[in-house]
Amino acid sequence: MHHRPVFVDFWASWCPPCKMMEPIVDRLAVEYEGRIRVAKVNVDRNRGLADRLNIKGLPTYMMFAGGASTGSLTAAQTERKLRGLIDEALIAGGPEGDTDG
């Protein structure tokens, strides 16, 4: 049984790039629908989690596949870089065309 890789967007209210990147993240979520899951985590309201994952700057975009982090990027990113992060995780996560378990 395979699970879809998860794209996590760590953000905060006081982070202008986090807000401005939202439409890009939403667009990618639509484009990769069915192949990844997207979660948005507000670090102030989820401090324990942010601390455990050692989030050092915002925004941080982190991919998880097979229960482990396959990579992360910190700061506003070009769409190209975000796709790179997601595509790497899709390759690492299992065979192509895998459906959600």
Partner: protein, 492 residues
Amino acid sequence: MTDPAQHNAGKTCWNCPAVEFKGHVDFRACGQAAFSRAAEGQLVVECKRREEIGYFDPMSITYDACPEYEATEFGYLLRGMRVMILGMDGYLGWPLALKLAKLGCQVFGIDNMLRRELVAERGAQSVLPIGSMQERIESARELLGVEIDFRPIDLCDREEFFAYVEEVKPEAFVQYAEIPSAPYSMASVETATKTIYNNNIGTLNLMFAMRDYAPEASMIKLGTMGEYGSPLTGRPLFEGLFPGDAVLQHGDDEWSLGGELVPRDPVSFYHVSKVQGTFTMYESCKYWWLRGIDVMQGVVYGLHTPELMTDPSLNTRFDIDEWWGTVINRFVAQAVVGAPLTIFGSGNQIRGYITVADAMQCMIRLLASPPEPGQYEVVNQVTDVLSVRELAQTVARIGRDEFDLTPTIQRIENPRVEAEEHPYEVIHEKLEKDFGFSSQSNVEDEIRYMFKRLMEPSSRELIEASRDTLFPKTLWSGGEKTLEVVEADLDY
């Protein structure tokens, strides 16, 4: 299209100024993503207005479900919200005070009355007669049934201002207490200093007052479209921050510009002071978890809100001289007394414009929907983008065709340092998309209404008395001169 009264229905205590963060939120964490120790459990808050509900998740109650919120045409408004208007005696401060009071807000205001002083020094005056602040408040009480609290305090007087803030504990601040004149700021080193000091120290005092006495309040500061300048490249004027897909390329590399402040190019020391104000607010929001909205307002004009129309004793001030009048207001005044409508240079300068009435609607919607803690929000508050020449022609045409006047339009030497031919594209979507704003004004109707009022004998006399102040003479290069007429009698 969302229902304009429902734009903030889904906001929660996370946005609300009545939330109590103290004891629950570590303010030092704002702006730093590194946490020195793991937090126990989840973030909870209390409510200052409803102590009985104890601790709760700030996202669990929405505005439309909260008994402290009331549905209005401008969105859900906190009942009896305590709003402090800085600069309440001014062109915008007074109409906003009336409107908020009528909506049931508790309105508090300060003003140092500097505007009245500076306009009088120039040999000019408001051409809509206005009474003293005491008289205006009395009229508001009698005619609108509202109580407005006013203190003659200078925002730069820290002790007095902090004391008033501590007493009132505002839930929202509107920062209108700035010297708004570009030519005044360029007239001399004394006037430039006064402008920069008044505007920046005032804003700085507001930041500290909020931090110490009202950290959960929201603040709306008047910025200006003029902060951005008019880039010759034709780069659109985004709303304060680059969108997420903006990219900077250099050599073989590229970087996202998403969320960065857009470039500034201020064309006078007044505009420079606004740019600094933007940075003061932007940084303070990050240092101290403050909620701030920077309003890049276009050139405001008109004199027409339902409250102002009630009675002349509720007039807002209306300036028409070179230093204190804004361009459309000045053109109408010039036409009324048969003075030439003065276009600087080619007249192809393009700017964004908005009526007082629309500006008021915007401000109330912004007050109804505060940003999140620590969030610096920016909106471009503009409805029409027009050239100076088009405006002069429109004013002259209406004056001639509907009011039997014989206006003339002149192009004169430009006293300013500014581009006269330039592209100009303004992105102004947020107010409509996120705050439910919909313009209730149009340029021609507003001009018609201004003609009607300014042609009344009381106003016409006042414009005549200030006639000498109509023709511009302040040079950006220093000093004053009689500017030459480059082209007389333009067609319209």
